[in-house]
């Protein structure tokens, strides 16, 4: 079982909490700067009795704000280099939920369709600020609204990568939503 330490009621108490905004608060306020730490406890098999493991989203520099051009996506891997880590960072040119920067328009998302794992790379459309249609079953996602499904069959929004700005540097610091193919974002 994995427990979220810094949910809204424990945000100020959780070990390793770096800032005041929780995942919950992020979604409710569309906040722009946040960090999240996950503490994962025993998720091993039925017969094992491993001690609790602690997994934490890495803080990873992925781009600089000044280098981004509107509607030109930048690819990066997060939270690791493993399968389905491929993600996309894009300056939308319009304010977005969870948007970073002075115009609140820089967002990042995992690149795999949360229906059946279709690869969405190369499908960004500036006109509609969307990813898709997925080549498998045509799902499309609205990047201005936390990756919500526009039309299609996905079981949830596209996982949104949490971003943090430090000077001109953009850091990936967490993910909302389970990445396709994985049973746990940090354990594969």
């Amino acid at each position: 079982m994995t427990h979220e330490i810094n949910s809204s009621d424990t945000a100020s108490r959780g070990p390793g909490t770096k800032c005041g905004l929780s995942r919950r608060k992020f979604l409710l306020t569309s906040g722009t700067a946040t960090a999240t730490v996950m503490v994962s406890m025993n998720h091993a098999g039925a017969d094992s009795h491993m001690p609790a493991t602690v997994a934490t989203y890495p803080r990873k520099k992925i781009a600089t704000l000044s280098s981004l051009q509107t509607d030109v996506p930048v690819e990066f891997d997060y939270p690791d280099e493993g399968e389905y880590s491929s993600s996309v960072l894009v300056k939308l040119g319009t304010e977005a939920g969870g948007g970073l920067g002075p115009d609140k328009d820089v967002v990042a998302f995992n690149h795999f369709c949360t229906h059946q794992g279709g690869d969405l790379s190369g499908s960004y459309k500036g006109e509609t600020k969307s990813l898709g249609a997925c080549p498998l079953h045509l799902s499309t996602y609205d990047l201005t609204r936390h990756g919500i499904l526009i039309s299609g069959q996905a079981y949830q929004s596209l996982p949104q990568v949490l971003l943090e700005l430090d000077g001109d540097d953009i850091y990936a610091v967490g993910i909302f939503g389970l990445i396709f193919g994985r049973h746990d974002n940090l354990q594969g």
């Binding site: 979604l27 949360t114 919500i148 069959q153 049973h183």
Partner: protein, 891 residues
Amino acid sequence: MTTPYYIPETNVPLPPKDADVITTACDYCIVACGYKVYRWPVAGNHDGGPEADNNAFDEDFPVAPLGSWVAPNQHNIVMHDGNPHHVVIIPDKDTEAVNTNGDSSLRGGCIAQKCYNPQTPTRDRLSTPLMRMWGILQPVSWDFALDVAAEVANHVRRKHGANAYGVKTFSYQYIENTYAISKYALRHINTANFTFHDTPSDVSSTPGFRDAGFDNFGPSYEDWMNAETLLVCGTDPYETKTILFTQWMMPGIQNGQKCIMMNPRRTAGVAYAEANGGLWLDVNLGTDLLVVNAIARVIAENGWQDAEWIKKWVNNKWGSNSGFGQGTRNTPWQWRTTWGKFQTDGYDDWAKWLLAQDEFTPENAAKVAGIDVQKIYTAAEWMAKPGADGTRPKTSIMIEKGFYWSNNTGNTMAISALAIQVGAGGRPGQVVGRAGGHQRGGVRGGKYPRNKSPMKVPGRRRRALDTDTWTMSGHTRMAHVIGTTWIQSMCGSQQLARRFEELTVQNPNQVMSFDKQEIIDTLKARADSGGMVVINQDIYLVDPIGNRYADIIFPAATWGEDTFMRANGERRLRVYNKFYDAPGEAKPDWWIIAQLAKKMGFDGFDWENSNDVAEESARFSRGSRKDFNMIKMAAIREGKTLHAKLGEFGTNGIQGPVFMDDDGSLRGTKRLHDTTLSLSETGPTGSNMFNKKLTHFNSQTGRCNIEKSPWSLFSDYWEWMSPKDDELWCTSGRTNERWQSGFDDRRRPYIVQRWPDNYIEIHPDDAAARGIESGDLLMAYSDRVPSLKETTLGIEGDDYSFTGQMRNDNVELSKAAVTGVAMVTRHIKKGIIYMDFLHTSQPANALEGRIVDWISGNYNYKIGVARLKKIGESPHKHSFRSMSFAPRDII
């Protein structure tokens, strides 16, 4: 109910190796994809792991695309045998039918969220019978609720007649339940005041198909893939029956199929077809008949009709006039044509009529329909023009509600004639049928008592009773409403609601007693005074039929809470297994009906379980498209139950009608009207039954009737209804992410985040002219919603038209208004607004005319008008949390 504050999870438990695996099929759309339920106890921290040797999928995580991934919305915790269990419900990756390779839609994909779990928004499931006392619905025991219901019901039918007891029920929510309900209502109560969730009268949904001889669900899913040209009318299957599109039509289109979509809304399936060489016929509402007949006219003028097929399979003058051995002019088809508007002497007679109607010239049809005339010529060419070597395109035609609920009789007559002309129907890849809405779970336990209906069509035949006008007129003294909203699902919803209010809560006889007999006497007095007593049987408390108007609530158990059977849109029968405990005292509908019937003194309701009901119903399925009687015979032969025998077919199921070979093995039927099929020359053996429609058509001769489809039978209503001044056409339909009234979806945080309110799609030009932007809160309203005061009144034939009803002062105009969030989008045709069809709090049907199609008795739900007024801004306009205003046609 849930709010849009959805917080996504970032992990999910996996089923362990020894998890129970139970097969089922999706509860929702017609396609009925196969699913597997993985169930294991919560106690013991017994979850599976990410290694293949440590989970029930035998897969290493991360899994490959299309693999056994589990999204958090596919997990839930339920009670099983009184103990909490994890369930993971994902599409069956091993199935060989329907959703081959384990595809799913969003609706079915998240069906785990349907399960009752008091820690989720499903916590308001009805779990005990309720009775309204002092205006409040209070929990009572089953015995108490049933005693009161039975006494009042017997009083109503004895004192006011069987037709005073109305039964308004789902037609599809599992064979066991529909059989029990219809046995009770039709055989025992024997009321003509009976109909299904989607129609005011128990009539055919597609009168033109019925008359031509086409079964609604003859085709197999592979036929839609194998057609070389496919005309799809009034639906985008991607939005509404997803897997039919993604698993069957998409491969067809990728393989070069020319897909023609006739629909004023360009959603993803339409856009995909267009992007891959298809055609979008963006017709104005209600003009389909003109376009269909214009296509047929181009084909006729060029001599592209399938002459060989027509010669063999279309009735000539003699065939048209023959009956069922009961004398001529006494078949359902012929009494509709009493006044000679439809009947022809065969293809040439039909073509002569077609070419003589000026409104069917491509130029006129294109003008009225608001489309490019070239599209009519292109469609005709694709559908019927033979190649240089004389080979004909294999053409199929699919229709659904946007089409047959716009001009019910006319459109279905016209499309049947076009199908016959191009040789669709009766051969692999050359078929005609409905795409379907809900699944097919109806088996009748009694015959509709048509002779008890006081309503008639022109001539001498009685028509099934229109339960809405009957109730509006105060003749329904007790209404038994099962698994439908009734009010919002019907046209002119707000007038209906007003009348329900008068007949129930505004009647002076209200229960204010703790004494059973006093309660019974009060409700009897209500019925006797001209009021109405309401029983509502459902899984949730429905507004307003349940929580405002009902006197007694029966809590129903549903999918996964008992074992049921049902068929899908290619007649594929499957067992839907029970895998968890129903909430509290909730019981399956068959059980509720059986207890009520027994208390009323009826015999034949002594069923122990759902299999008993299924086995009793089997013989009533004989000869039908989902004939499963031989599965029961096989079960008897092998000493098994019917459910166990059908269950052996798992998610693959078997397509009805089902036959037994001499060695006892069962064989399904790929398609109906299969003229390429050879049946045993010696006829059926044992209890097998060969129905004519296996190899022929469903007509008086086994050949098709090609019929005329005059525009004039409908054009007066269409012209009257057409937008005046700043009105816009107003239509509605499904949205991919929401099923029916949203009874489950309103309790799914993610879906509520996506669709927190009803929406109003409007073309950018229409929006700009009215100062409307996406996210604005709009009032859609009308002061001329027409409704019939009484049933269609008339003496002479032309009295029955809309003009005749207006002339005879049988039409009342009233006001209606529905709010919604503006969605300014390029994917809706200019001049038309589109809403979700069944938001219970913002019902689009309020704006649709409560005028039945005077020939068929169905509503034309899809053609209304409305004005728009901006009344403010919705919270979604500037917040990024919910909704999306991006267009649905991004490919």
